[in-house]
């Protein structure tokens, strides 16, 4: 018993690895949200008129909306006037340092293991690093440019490729979509933009690293990914935040357009600060992610490993309008302590012979609540649509909850839709078997959980898979009692 306690204490001390904050000169605008603030953000970013109009329209619509409450979540009341909507850590006081990255910032990203210096980037991944509201640096831009691939921050894209941005921004997630989408459309700061032209196979993984640093701010990034005919791209996303005892809001939008025969792989390892073991603080992760498979035989695959955030409320979705398009969703969601997750996916079949697969693994421990919520909709036009969903939940501890809310709306007689779900705890037999062979219980749990999540982890790109595996271990340590 005492041994167990000492282990728990050890882990409690270990806590969140990325919880440091960076002392960097950051320009933060006044707290509060109004048309003036939106104009100010737009002005600071030097945006064209049409984008300001887009923001204002979204803001006015947002004002008419009510905050949703249907999630299986206990949400703290968010005071939207008590958040600063723009924080820029790259702005140094003197004009002298302009254009160069603050060495403190460099150190931060080094510490997080994100190589911003290209000579260090042996991993061969192009990175767009976003801290608070601003993209700090995008690597490998020139090399990608040679192939015609555009990879830059969305602010730059607005300036340099306004036509492309104008065409696709809001075309997958319109600002009227939901409350947080409207908010994001009004105040979005930075994010990544990628355009893969026809027939190009992106030679390296594109990746965005999001970091919230400043206190009292929210992050509202916007990612737009367009994959033209016959192109391919694999995109990674990672996130961390410092430990703060307040809740920080993260309301992002990710839009993906996939055209004929194109393929996009989108992987997320979400490790926002989950709050402390008492449930204090942590990031509220309220994100709208959606891909539109417009072309025939296009393919989109979402893979997510969710270990962080006090509250995760997101449904990376796919609209399968191209005939023969395929979508996949692989998810591992881990919740511990007082974390809450209500996550899953939506697969909307519109085109003929479309196919989707959903594999979701939930792991709940401590006093956390973990829900899978998913919709499979087959429109009457979607002849021969096929879906397979499987959601498993693993319970570690008697005070946590695991829930499954699958929705299936079938409007076509030729569709085949299957769903199955199981909920159980770690089998005593498996544990006993491991113990018997000299594997201590803690390690055995790790082993079993990793085996359980393997289906999803296998879908992640190599370097992410290693990180995710480690994260799973850290998130769950000390949960057995």
């Amino acid at each position: 018993m005492s041994q167990k306690n000492s282990f728990v204490r050890e882990v409690a001390d270990k806590k969140y690895e990325y919880g440091f904050s960076t002392e960097v000169e950051t320009e933060i605008i006044e707290k509060g949200l109004s048309e003036e603030v939106i104009r100010l953000i737009s002005h600071k970013k030097g945006e064209p008129e049409w984008l300001l109009d887009f923001r204002l329209e979204a803001y006015r619509y947002w004002l008419t909306m009510e905050e949703p409450s249907w999630g299986h979540l206990k949400m703290p009341k968010i005071d939207y006037q008590n958040i600063s909507y723009y924080a820029d850590p790259t702005r140094t006081k003197t004009e002298k340092g302009k254009g160069e990255i603050d060495p403190e910032l460099m150190k931060t990203f080094d510490k997080l293991g994100i190589p911003l210096e290209e000579r260090l980037a042996l991993s061969g991944t192009a990175v767009d690093a976003v801290m608070d509201s601003v993209s700090v640096k995008t690597t490998f831009r020139e090399k990608l440019q040679e192939k015609g691939i555009i990879f830059c921050s969305i602010s730059e894209a607005v300036r340099e490729y306004p036509e492309l941005v104008k065409e696709y921004l809001g075309s997958v997630v319109p600002y009227r979509d939901n409350f947080f989408a409207a908010l994001n459309s009004a105040v979005f700061s930075d994010g990544s933009f990628a355009y893969i032209p026809k027939g190009v196979r992106c030679p390296m993984e594109l990746s965005t690293y999001f970091r919230i640093n400043a206190r009292g701010t929210g992050q509202f990034e916007r990612t737009l990914l367009v994959c033209d005919d016959d192109a391919y791209v694999s995109y990674l996303e990672g996130c961390t935040a410092p430990m703060r005892d307040e809740n920080q809001l993260h309301a992002a939008i990710v839009e993906i357009v996939v055209k004929e025969n194109a393929e996009v792989k989108y992987s997320t390892v979400q490790n926002w600060y989950p709050g402390d073991s008492e449930g204090k603080g942590g990031v509220l992760n309220l994100v709208t992610k959606r891909g539109h498979l417009r072309g025939a035989n296009s393919k989109l695959s979402w893979t997510q490993v969710e270990t962080g955030s006090a509250i995760t409320w997101k449904y990376p979705s796919c609209i399968l309008s191209g005939d023969g398009s395929q979508a996949e969703f692989y998810s591992v969601a881990v919740t511990n302590h007082y974390q809450q997750a209500d996550t899953g996916t939506k697969m909307i079949h519109i085109g003929k012979n479309t196919k989707s697969t959903i594999i979701s693994k939930g792991i709940s421990a401590g006093k956390s609540q973990n829900s899978y919520r998913g919709l499979v909709k087959v429109a009457h036009t979607a002849d021969g649509a096929r879906n397979y969903s499987s959601c498993d939940s693993l319970l570690l501890g008697s005070a946590c909850g695991a829930h499954t809310f699958p929705y299936m709306d079938i409007h076509n007689e030729s569709a085949v839709v299957e769903h199955e779900a199981t909920t159980s705890k770690i089998s005593e037999d498996q544990l006993f078997y491991c113990n018997q062979r000299g594997i201590p219980t803690e390690d055995a749990i790790g082993l079993i959980v990793n085996g359980y999540a393997k289906d999803v982890l296998n879908k992640l790109p190599m370097e992410f898979a290693v990180e995710a595996q480690k994260l799973l271990g850290v998130s769950l340590e000390g949960t057995i009692g």
Partner: protein
Amino acid sequence: MNAEKQYIDLFAECRTMIDGHSVLALNARRDEAFHAFQEIGFPSKKVERYKYTDVSALFLPDYGLNINRLDIPVNPYDAFRCDVPNLSTSLYFVVNDRFYDKVLPKVSLPQGVVVTSFQKAAEVYPHLLEKYYGQLADAKTDAINALNTMLAQDGLFIYVPKGVVVERPLQIVNILRADVDLMVNRRVLIVLEESAQMKCLFCDHSIDDVNFMATQVCEVFVGENAHLELYELEETHVKTHRVANMYVRQSAYSTTTMDSITLHNGYTRNQTDVMLDGEGCETNMYGCVIADKQQHVENNTLIDHRVSHCISNECYKYVLDGSSIGAFAGRVLVREGAQKTVSQETNANLCATRSARMYTQPMLEIYADDVKCSHGSTVGQINDAALFYMRQRGIPEEEARLLLKFAFVSDVIASIPMDALRDRLHYLVEKRFRGELSKCEGCKLCK
């Protein structure tokens, strides 16, 4: 005009009349229900539990109500024969929302067993009625319960005392009979005391070609170690709307088996909430829906595991033809501390035409860790390979399709332990698939 207004007005106007033709136990709860109904109104489709059925639209038309309790001029024993005739049952009728007690079957029930109307029960067993009536169906949170509690004037009361085994199944035939569009508010109260056993079959029929709106609230108490089998068979017509709420509370070591079979209907919403209140309970719920034309059938279930060591099984099958709409929402809730729960939920659906629609939502909500819960749900169509195999062997396509559909639902029917009922249902389902109307076979009323 919103749908609630006419009922609020009606209640305010006719309150004395409603009370006058009813009994104290029912009258005592009307005020509370009325206030709740005024406050909550009919649920919109935005309410999660009602998202598949637009209830307020159902209640919008102007239906007549028999508040004065005028007599029904027929003797159902002479005029009507139910579809399940070969079964040796104790047969009772509920005509519209009134228990028919002018003529009663010549069967002797075991000592102490009561099958009667609320009117009678209020005279003879007022303490029982008061103790159990309205205990499970919460009028404050559910508009259907509130409306029913407001307007119900009579009901069916079944009571089985401690240790009594009712060998012969009870058969309750609900007949809807009217010359004008009619709304009925049925109320059922079933109480099984400790170690009692009973089998009960409810058959729903509507025999006049007018619009019917039937609400039904059924409260069932299953005592410790008691055993209840409850079957519901709906064979009404397209002009019948049925909104039924059933609440079951099971005490320790009790077993219930519930079957809900919808063969013919118009618009049906069955909501069944089972509360497992004592350790070692077992609940089996089966459902079978065969729908075509514009029919709409929703089964909405909740199994609430409140304590440890309980078992629940659920299996619902739908076969949808024409432009019918099927919906299934099954929620299994395992509360904190309900360890060693075993729960299984299956929903399989066959969509036979393009315009048929199926919504399914099997939910698990689990707050205990030592449990084994699973659910599975499928929507698909007849297997081409199987069809080909049969045709290859000389079975005509139509016949082959029929056989496959029949096989699809047969496991629900096979789960019925009563042989005679099972055989009869096999026959009825087959007939249903062949498109033959069976309801007129033995009935003199609608000829």
